[in-house]
Subunit: 239 residues, 2 copies
């Protein structure tokens, strides 16, 4: 299958590499391919320049967001950060029409104030916007009424999403939510190919609120486990 | 040990009954004992009148909130609902001085508007207040600076908190957070006596934000499992 991944950050790279490994054709979207390729320094998260990743992963096509989305057979994974996702996706609504879009962003608002350092000493993440009575997943679906939006992956580090067996032998739970059953089935099929065996459908996209708000709990658990910078754990729903 | 439980609702009753079973002396606090005893109808959650519970659990002493708190040796469990907790506890700050207070409330704001039915069709809980940048646990600690506040129990139905083995053989995780290590140790000791074997300390009380915000995820998981009215599951942190 030809799958589009929008974004070139650390999370997106996890999916790109895994999809290539699984034999998919991968088109990668970025705002400005020339600018992405021109970078020679690590990004703010410490990821090496994308041109280095490209050199190590032959076969990737790098395109502007809209062209990458248009090139996908059916499935588009958005790795665009939560702060920019609605605006960036709205611009390419036509190219996303009729496709399934998996969104895994947390709508963090980073406050670089001296009294709110990030990461905080106690491992708590910055504030969310929207929160509680709305979610980024729902915002994206409202902005893209002709696209089938699925919220998933968001309760985990993306390195674990593409390699569930790396934590506890893989015996933990992944969640999906969305208003389109067929799109959730596509997402679950992808997750199974990643190695997930326990995939729980939380229902309509409104459940994205809980999935996104879990970010604070995820951070706190990571802190509790002494894994302040990047969690290496999963949660299993025990019935 | 003489333990005070503040509140007479369904969650409080779970703790009262379990503490009696474990051989503790239990004093129960309520706003107005005479009014509590005068009720002959089930409460809004369908719990039978408290006088019936008292008749079935001999040895309980029912007192006004402040007298119950004062009577506790060290440990007070607050079963006061999130909407009323700060106000009700502030009034008895003197009686809570020097004690450990375990708070398990979710600060729900119920909106009984026709367009926001509760429970909703999709199992999502009402909105939280505070949320994201503050928590009820932190509010209570600020209101009671001479009390050691611990947030715990809140990620579970209280019927499961007092009987962890009732779900998945008990192989799931309970969380504690607070700014006082000794109070967290007291809480963990209580949890062990309840049967918990996996108790994770999330760190300072600021982690209460994640624990309270997990309420939406808990509701969504319950809905996903088809357990819309009261979850019967746990989450295990898989390392």
């Amino acid at each position: 299958m030809k799958i589009a991944v929008l974004g070139t950050g650390g999370g997106a790279r996890c999916h790109i590499a895994k999809l290539l490994e699984l034999g998919h054709e991968v088109v990668v979207g970025t705002r400005d391919p020339q600018a992405t390729l021109a970078r020679t320094e690590p990004d703010m998260m410490g990821n090496p320049p994308f041109q280095q990743f490209l050199a190590e992963h032959p076969g990737i096509t790098l395109l502007p967001f809209g062209e990458a989305a248009a090139a996908a057979d059916e499935l588009v994974i958005s790795g665009i950060d939560g702060h920019n996702a609605v605006a960036a996706l709205t611009v390419i609504a036509d190219q996303l029409t009729g496709k399934t879009l998996i969104d895994y962003a947390v709508p963090f608002v980073y406050q670089h104030e001296p009294e709110h350092p990030w990461p905080t000493p106690w491992g708590i993440m910055p504030k969310l916007e929207p929160v509680d009575t709305d979610s980024l997943g729902e915002q994206i679906q409202r902005a893209l009424p002709r696209t089938r939006v699925v919220k998933s992956f968001v309760t985990q580090e993306q390195s674990t999403v593409v390699n569930p067996a790396g934590v506890g032998g893989g015996d933990h739970t992944m969640f999906v939510a969305g208003d389109h059953a067929d799109a959730k089935q596509q997402t679950a099929a992808l997750l199974k190919s990643y190695g997930w065996t326990d995939i729980l459908d939380l229902g309509p996209l409104v459940a994205a609120r809980g999935m996104e708000m879990y970010a604070h709990m995820h951070s706190a658990i990571g802190f509790g486990l002494g894994q302040q910078f990047g969690g290496h754990f999963g949660i299993k729903v025990v019935r």
